[in-house]
């Protein structure tokens, strides 16, 4: 059998909860046993628009947290920004509605084998998968610090219960409406030095991931970045979500962020070449 998508199943999932939180919706889906294979960094691809939809493509969302209860079985939590037609449709669905999902997909965050000092950095709703990751890291004895950033305070997603695994949380907003004024990278070098950070995990917009990579590379700190690239299929067959990535020998290939990611080694991604002609590779 194939090793690609080997943990994934396609199921009809019921929406257990759909709550507005600031600029986002917290959506909880009952996915059954699939939850046992979900790891922080994995994503879910959801069919949107109902039976007569003119939207032919699935929408991919990072899994924020998972749980298993007697009442609902396995559930996954998603933090969705109602930006496009698909995410707006999903956010408008009421509890009890069934949606077809494929999950878990993608490469998860790598967890250090020995306890380490980890720094988790999220931009906007990119913070969603980091809380589940923080739980796992803490359970492995890691010290977890977190930095969140967004353009304004309503776009910061930081649930109370999510903070229990986090040693410290620093918030930056560009307009200063929450936390400190600035970006997630504003004090990054100092924080890495002061807290003796050994690994950085990040999730958010491409420009943020690129800026973190530059600093992490300078400081010689490992950096696992979860990328956001638009996908048509989420399972590796459409070749649309590709990013230029260097291998050990420095050769560049266009890798699929759905199956070779979304979590990638930040220092291997050629952020400057994203969207550029491939002839120079």
């Amino acid at each position: 059998m194939s090793t690609i998508n080997k943990a994934a199943t396609q199921v009809d999932a019921t929406i257990i909860a759909n709550k507005r939180i600031g600029a986002y919706h917290q959506i909880i889906l009952s996915v059954g046993e699939a939850v046992r294979h979900c790891r922080p960094g994995n994503f879910i691809a959801i069919q949107v628009g109902g039976d007569s939809s003119r939207m032919v493509l699935r929408r991919a969302f990072a899994i924020s947290r998972t749980s298993e209860t007697a009442q609902f079985g396995g559930t996954v939590e998603l933090i969705v920004a109602p930006h496009g037609s698909g995410s707006r449709w999903l956010c408008a669905q009421s509890e009890g509605v069934e949606v077809n999902v494929v999950t878990p997909l993608g490469k998860a965050f790598g967890i250090p084998v020995e306890p380490a000092n980890a720094l988790l950095i999220g931009g906007g709703y990119g913070s969603a998968p980091l809380f589940g990751l923080a739980d796992v890291l803490k359970s492995r004895g890691c010290k977890v610090d977190m930095i969140l950033g967004a353009s304004n305070g309503s776009k910061i997603y930081a649930p109370m219960e999510g903070k229990r695994s986090v040693n410290s949380l620093k918030i930056f907003t560009e307009d200063g409406s929450m936390g400190e004024s600035g970006r997630v990278t504003s004090q990054l070098s100092q924080i890495v030095a002061e807290r003796d950070i050994e690994i950085i995990y990040s999730c958010g917009p491409m420009a943020m991931l690129k800026a973190i990579t530059e600093i992490a590379d300078q400081l010689g700190v490992m950096h696992q970045a979860s990328v956001e690239e638009s996908m048509a299929c989420g399972i590796g067959i459409c070749m649309t979500c590709v990013l230029p990535v260097k291998d050990e020998d420095g050769a560049i290939s266009m890798l699929r962020s759905c199956i070779d990611g979304p979590v990638m080694d930040g220092s291997k991604v050629c952020w400057d070449l994203v969207g550029k002609s491939t002839e120079s590779f």
Binding site: M1, S2, T3, I4, N5, K6, A8, Q10, Q47, R54, M55, V56, L57, R58, N100, V102, E229, S230, M231, A232, C233, I235, G236, I237, C238, M239, T240, C241, V242, L243, I252, S253, M254, I259, V274, G275, K276, S277, T278, E279, F281
Partner: protein, 310 residues
């Protein structure tokens, strides 16, 4: 007691247990879909068009969703024929899957080179010669927009392949008269045609106010193009009723597949529907069996081209 409906089909001298296939460029080389469908239970995996050398393809963005469809602009990213034949074909054959290899070249000679490499490999059911990929640097490379260039490519491949493996020429609907192109590739030795490739399109991003795709233009696929596909298949089957047609274009349900079959398709490739639903081919196959039985057909073959019968 009813006998099970015979779903088998042929394309040239190649036999398939089911008329449902993946579409080239929409299933990579099969590994990704194997978790969701049983590859040996569909007609064949039509692999992504492969070129002689490895290729990076076009820059991102490569995709834009459109009403009931999508534009793609991949630019034939792939591993090159040598790596493909070493890794992907053996894997597919080991799964018990039938394989139709799709090839694409920048020059008439490149197609012949590809054909020569394929001839040395056993187990391949048919070759799709993609002479109509819209995502190449120059539209001049779309061989299938001209009878002369289309037939030169097919002639070159035919001479190399001999009569052993059926050759299907993949055509574009972006021409004035698709029947003329079909006749010219048949004269050059094609055993069948694959209809249709994507339709050239463009989306402009209202934020940047520039073409959205990195390659500016892209290929439109999905249910939006299905009527174009039905029309093209109908026209070609009407003119060349004995010519096997592998039909594709916006098929996402059993009823869609049946429409193309009635127009004259002997096989159906499912492409964009697999992006939205990885098990689409399996559901379409099931639905098609029910629809054929409801209409009194006892075999798939009886339905092919039924729309033309008086």
């Amino acid at each position: 007691m009813s006998t099970p409906l015979d779903l088998s089909t042929t394309l040239g001298n190649a036999w398939f247990p089911s008329p449902l296939f993946t579409a080239s460029g929409c299933a990579s080389s099969g590994k990704e879909l194997a978790q969701f469908i049983s590859l040996k239970d569909i007609g064949a995996v039509v692999t992504k068009s492969v070129m002689n050398k490895p290729r990076h393809g076009r820059p991102t963005p490569r995709m834009a969703e459109t009403p009931s469809g999508m534009l793609n602009s991949i630019g034939l990213q792939g591993p090159g024929i040598d790596a493909f034949l070493a890794n992907d074909v053996p894997w597919l054959l080991a799964q018990g899957s039938r394989v139709i290899v799709s090839i694409a070249g920048e020059t008439v000679d490149e197609y012949s080179v590809l054909a020569r490499k394929l001839r040395a490999v056993s187990g391949i059911s048919a070759i799709e010669v993609n002479i109509s990929c819209p995502n190449v640097e120059s539209r001049g490379q779309v061989f299938a927009t001209d009878c002369d260039t289309a037939s030169r490519v097919i002639d070159g491949v035919r001479k190399v392949i001999g009569g052993e493996i059926p050759i299907l020429a993949k055509l574009t609907p972006d021409v004035t008269n698709i029947v003329d192109i079909a006749k010219s590739v048949v004269d050059a030795g094609a055993d069948g045609v694959a209809l249709i490739n994507t339709v050239l399109g463009m989306v402009i991003n209202l934020d940047t106010m520039k073409p959205h795709l990195g390659g500016k233009t892209g290929g439109l696929s999905g249910p939006a193009i299905r009527p174009i596909s039905v029309r093209a298949i109908y026209q070609v089957h009407e003119a060349l009723p004995k010519l096997p047609i592998l039909g594709m274009g916006g098929v996402s349900s059993g009823r869609d597949a049946l429409e193309l079959i009635l127009a004259g398709a002997s096989g159906i490739s499912v492409g964009t529907a697999s992006f939205g639903n990885p098990s689409a081919i399996a559901s379409i196959q099931k639905e098609l069996v029910t629809l054929l039985a409801q209409r009194g057909f006892t075999s798939f073959q009886q339905a092919v081209g039924y729309a033309h019968r008086s």
